[in-house]
Symmetry: none
Subunit: 229 residues, 4 copies
DNA sequence: AATGAATGAGCCTTCATTCAT
DNA sequence: GATGAATGAAGGCTCATTCAT
């Protein structure tokens, strides 16, 4: 009926449609039928090209994350010799871009959030390729900023704090305060990067072992002590 | 055939089972059948007691969040006259408890994460009761800490940063580094509270308008400037 | 909860509600639950009072038809010595009333139509009590009008023609031409009776064996005139 | 597992089975399962081919009525120039055939009766295509027979009388007197047509305004005789 | 290489009925 | 005498998958 597409057009149409639909609805709610009709492909085409819905999903992940990595590398183009601060900022920005990008190629953020909240087996597949490198890079940056004397636990906590700040922005729309909704994507991204970067640098500084307590650090300590005790 | 239970035991059994199953699998993947057999109830009992699977889900939410609010009130028992720092710490701890509690009464964290990533209509229901108060409280605390001169945008960003740090801990198990997994729940919670509190106080201090720039703040600024420019 | 009704109030409420609901929706579409809530009775009350939905239905039939018979007896109050024409007219009117009456006591028409189109076992129950007497009476009247020489088949056909003309008015509302819808029930009924009576007398006359056309045609006219006037 | 049928055999099997089952049991009592197993098709096939049970029902209607219209056109093949009497007879016969035909292709009669007594939305669909044309045709014929001076109401009543006489024969089997049951379908149909035709012509004559009885009554007789002979 | 037809497993829901009180 | 709670059977429908072409 419909004119035949040449070669592997159907396959890539399916991948594109699947990425969109999976990101919008999640693995379980996205139906094969919907993906196929969005791709103007036959209902059997998913199984023909990918073997199963689940394998298509895995393929989408692989593709999406590879793209995320390619488009927004964690080092942000910085050499290994860049300062820890510069690397931190670049990493935050890359991570935010991954979460906020919803162009036709980048629903990665939505998908990963959904998986983290309600994992499929697919999550395991990208853990090593995407999450581990991120965790390690962040860990290294924090370690550098916090100094060699800091406890390992502090480093881990700080890395998590920074990553979570970024990850939260992958939640579905409507979560941001009205005030931020009006900004265009790029402006928002720059501001957020700036904010998270400064906030995190301040946070790291505050938790690192204080060789010599600066005045305002002390005040922070005091409040804290009072609270706990 | 199975012995009849007296009273409305079935209804509460269903609620308990549903909370568990919904938290484990999410709304779509949790089947009525599974919930009913977990509650040792008939397949029709969900409809009898709640009208539909969806209404049961809404009920579970309401209950779970009410419990979260009751058990872990945001003010942590502090009076309104407590210092901003104390209120911040208490709020962080309450929020963390809500996310990490997975006792028979508190899957709220898991569920909210799932909803944020992939919303059902149920999300709307608790937004006002749970999310808004949290946002407002955090906003007020940050405003107090950051001072009246800070731009509104800064306040909003900081509140988000703090909330996101906590929310991230609602993700399914297996996400925490091995090192933290070994700690018992309560110890972990105390450490995390401590960390997020200090980290956030440091972060807030770092982003607030600097009347007189202390030396090391300036260095942070410099790095940042270098990066952007 | 609800105040207890005394004695058999619930039972009669159920009967009334059931009659309404059965007439509106038919046996299969009417649910026990709907009937019970319309009667403000417990879901178990049907089974308690009547044993089953089907037995309630049969009870409704019996009651409805008994009422129809009592309120609109086929002889219309005429003695056995009334003329065949008078008895025909009375019978037609009674039958029409049975079909058109939709007061709280008389959904009989709707129900019988539904049963004729799509029978339940209940139909058998009233066949003897309601349908047979009607058929026999109509047969006798027609036989008298048509004369002893007419073939039995003709008599049967005529009786059917008359009965069918009346039965058709039991169909659900919205079937009558707009023109007739505007009339009030009683006026419509009188007009219809008049029409069917005259039409049928004419029809019978037309099909009876014609020895010599003129004389008794005239007498027929006379009778008719007498009847109407 | 069951051998695959080629082409769209399943779809037409379903339609055929559905027509039978719907006619026997009515929309509500006919189950998808029954229809499918009668069509030796899978339980999901109704949804695949028609979308839902209701749409299948609508399809069955459309088909059945189109067939009824095609096989038994109201004009019975008569030209528009045929006499009113001839057209009346032809129309009555067509209508009776539609009601009595229960070959594999024509349960239309049963279904329409059921719908008239207990309507589905499907009824609306065929009202315009089937019921309206019939009503209009009958109206025109009666108007011609009854003359221009007759009140519109009389014409409407007569048309209804004729139509109802025919419609009544769509009721489920077992309603006809034993005497008629023994006749074969075709003989019964011819006799019934003859009867209803003569009965109705007589009825119309009897209700029309009588200026002077004799002349046109006679002509009516003549036409009738001519028609019959 | 690709597809239209068809399937089977399972899900949510409805509903008449039953049971203990 | 009457009821609220609970149940089992079945119904319509969805959906990923398979098969023949």
């Amino acid at each position: 009926m419909a004119e035949r597409r040449d070669g592997l057009a159907t396959k890539s149409h399916l991948l594109a449609a699947a990425r969109r639909v999976f990101a919008e609805k999640g693995y379980r709610d996205a139906t094969s039928g919907e993906i196929c009709s969005a791709a103007r492909a036959n209902a059997a085409s998913i199984n023909y090209h990918f073997g199963s819905k689940e394998k298509l999903y895995a393929e989408v992940w692989k593709e999406a994350f590879q793209e995320a990595i390619d488009r927004y590398p964690l080092d942000g183009g910085l050499g290994a010799d860049a300062s820890a601060e510069a690397r931190l900022k670049a990493t935050v920005q890359s991570l935010l871009r991954r979460m906020l990008d919803s162009s036709s190629l980048g629903y990665a953020g939505q998908i990963v959030l959904m998986e983290l909240a309600n994992p499929t087996e697919a999550l395991e597949l990208v853990k090593q390729d995407v999450i581990e490198p991120l965790r390690r890079r962040m860990h290294a940056i924090v370690r550098e900023l916090v100094g060699p004397k800091a406890a390992e636990e502090q480093v881990v906590f700080c890395a998590i704090s920074i990553i979570h700040q970024c990850l939260g922005f992958g939640f579905k729309k409507g979560k941001l305060p009205a005030m931020l909704e009006s900004l265009d994507k790029e402006t928002l991204l720059v501001s957020l990067t700036e904010h998270i970067y400064r906030f995190s640098v301040g946070g790291i500084r505050a938790v690192r072992p204080q060789v010599n307590a600066a005045p305002h650090v002390r005040s922070g300590e005091c409040v804290f002590r009072a609270e706990v005790g």
